[in-house]
Assembly symmetry: C2
Homo-oligomer: 378 residues x 2
């Protein structure tokens, strides 16, 4: 790659993704500090950036204790020397492929997650060769309602009993994703954080009373772990992911400031359309995603993808490779944006935008230092 | 790839994309027939599938006369033996990179598109080496308002005069994308088709009256070319792209039927959440995009991504690797969808969903015949 490296951020062809390494390092260190302060281990999620380099930074070089969202990611990190990896998606028997078995066999600790009795039984019914045991976390739903076994349900107890009793299973503990902390109101967020911890603790006690040890129990989400409450210190681990890059959505829910966003898309003004009030850039939804933007874009002060240093502009709409930018309140002064002008866009949801990139140009200030190649697929 | 080829569509790991080759061939042939019937040349757009194999089918094996949306695509097809390629995005001087110059030099006919006087001047000011000339189309805006020079503007005449007069430029003609034909109402669509053709013809006459020959003039969009009106027969070429796969959006605007959609995503039921009325699948917006879905999903009869053969279900929402499916009117009968059940999703906009795939499994009936690898990036 080195031979292809553009010298500065002004030398890249557009559109493309820039990653500000200084912001990344700051974001990563802040999360490490949050965990240290609370005495909780950090198990970062790789799903946002999906790069070896980002994983090394997030694990402070240990390459241990990570979470992944796909089997392709698990293989990518295993091949890159990482271990102690949770595949954080409910396991069912039909998903136990050769690839999953290979990961469970070759890694010291490849953890699967289950959220159903049927799923748990499926793992038990598929023993690994030799002495190797399945490492199993139970996913707990503490109120978010996406996946996970409901914290106070009979099934929660039954799953853990099965895990604890099965010869070829090592029950690792409880995993929770508190996606319901993506709320702007601080008090509401604190309440959700509190409830989440309380419910995990209550379930842990119930299991222990039943004779089932719970070595680990953690929760994750970038909003909750970026602004943790003290009670979260009772947990053994956090597993946020998005914080490596952050994005506009995280700004809107109070996780970070605009100056923390470490990923930007560079784009070029390629057309002026004063008759419809837009200027057109060479970045559409094939490069910066609208996915993950649940709020109507008209309710967002800067649109769904803020234009760096230009609050007077906003993205009106996109097609595949085209972005239509309009004035944010006032008409565009086209003389300030001649054809060929470069603009920088902050992603609304960096997980979605990162997933569209074949590479990230990593820079410090203006200088490009490296190219990171993300994993993709499933 | 052949060694990795799963035998049938039931053997692939989920999530992934399936491409039904029989539907592709039918869609491709229908468009060829539409063009033949009207006496118009077909110059298919590659942006949807971005594969060599799809390009060969769409050009009926000639590998000539195509349109691309990125420079990466242009290089990919040039390397694959294709020629006569339009890069259909407004060219400005700042975009004339070494890669663009290399394409213009090595191909017999690499066409750039301009929609501004400044952009045209930028091309003129960057002559190619030797005898090689720039091939230039002017993009015309006939009312869609995205990009293109407005059909009856002074600039339109000025751009073409410059192109025709410049020593190192070969003026190729007029290019129009009538994206405003993405409307469900047939009469409204016909009116837009009519207006588009009339305006292109009027501009052509104006140019010819000015002594500027217009060898080619065409329009494109899958809705307009799938249901062409007779007047479109005066054009020299059509350049639709999406029709190779079609999608639910094209069904909604009347371009095709559900049975024409040639791309599907296979996904697995991984969790039951009766307490919130959903079943959860292992496909989120990292695999099937919501981009390109402009209408509120509640107004779409089957949601934004119909579930094949299950109109009683609809996608409620997605996160990165998770899809939450709810009952479409009535509650879900979970006994019909045990954990591990496979479901098939039609993309809302196949261009966006195809852009997320590292590969397509190409099948005929149940049997998998091939894997196609799409180009990506810029």
């Amino acid at each position: 790659m080195a031979t292809e490296l553009p010298a500065t951020i002004y030398d890249v062809e557009t559109p493309c993704a820039l990653v500000d390494i200084d912001r990344v390092k700051k974001n990563v260190q802040r999360m490490i500090d949050n965990c240290t302060n609370l005495g909780v281990e950090l198990r970062p999620h790789m799903k946002t950036h999906k790069t070896i380099e980002g994983g090394e930074l997030m694990t402070a070089g240990t390459k241990r204790k990570i979470v992944v969202s796909t089997i392709a990611e698990a293989e990518f990190y295993a091949d890159g020397g990482f271990d102690d990896i949770i595949f954080a998606s409910p396991m069912v028997k039909e998903r136990i492929s050769k690839r999953v078995i290979s990961l469970a066999t070759r890694l010291e600790a490849f953890h699967v997650m289950v959220d159903s009795v049927v799923g748990m039984q499926g793992v038990i019914d598929t023993p690994l060769d030799g002495d190797k045991k399945w490492n199993v976390f139970m996913e707990v739903d503490c109120g978010y309602g996406r996946t996970g076994c409901v914290w106070d349900s009979d099934d929660a107890l039954m799953i853990c009993r099965k895990a604890a009793a099965a010869e070829h299973v090592r029950f690792q503990g409880l995993y929770n994703h508190c996606g319901n902390t993506y709320v702007p109101d601080k008090d509401q967020k604190s309440q959700i954080q509190l409830t989440t911890v309380d419910r995990l603790v209550e379930l842990k006690k119930r299991l222990e009373a039943d004779g089932i040890p719970v070595p680990r129990f953690g929760c994750g989400s970038t909003p909750s772990c970026s602004r943790p409450i003290n009670n979260m210190g009772v947990l053994t681990e956090f597993h946020p992911g998005n914080y490596i890059f952050y994005d506009y959505m995280q700004v809107l829910v109070g996780s970070c400031s605009m100056d923390d966003i470490a990923m930007k898309i560079v784009t070029t003004v390629i057309s002026h359309k004063p008759e419809v009030g837009t200027l057109v850039v060479d970045c559409g939804w094939n490069c910066i995603s609208q996915d993950g933007c649940e709020r109507p874009k008209d309710t967002l002060p800067l649109g769904y993808t803020p234009i760096v240093d230009h609050p007077e502009l906003r993205m009106r709409a996109m097609t595949q490779e085209i972005g239509k930018i309009e004035g944010n309140g006032e008409a565009i002064d086209y003389s300030k944006f001649p054809l060929g002008t470069r603009l920088y866009l902050y992603p609304h949801h960096s997980c979605a935008t990162a997933g569209l990139q074949p590479k990230y140009y990593v820079h410090s200030g203006d200088k490009i230092l490296d190219i990171w190649i993300p994993n993709r697929g499933w």
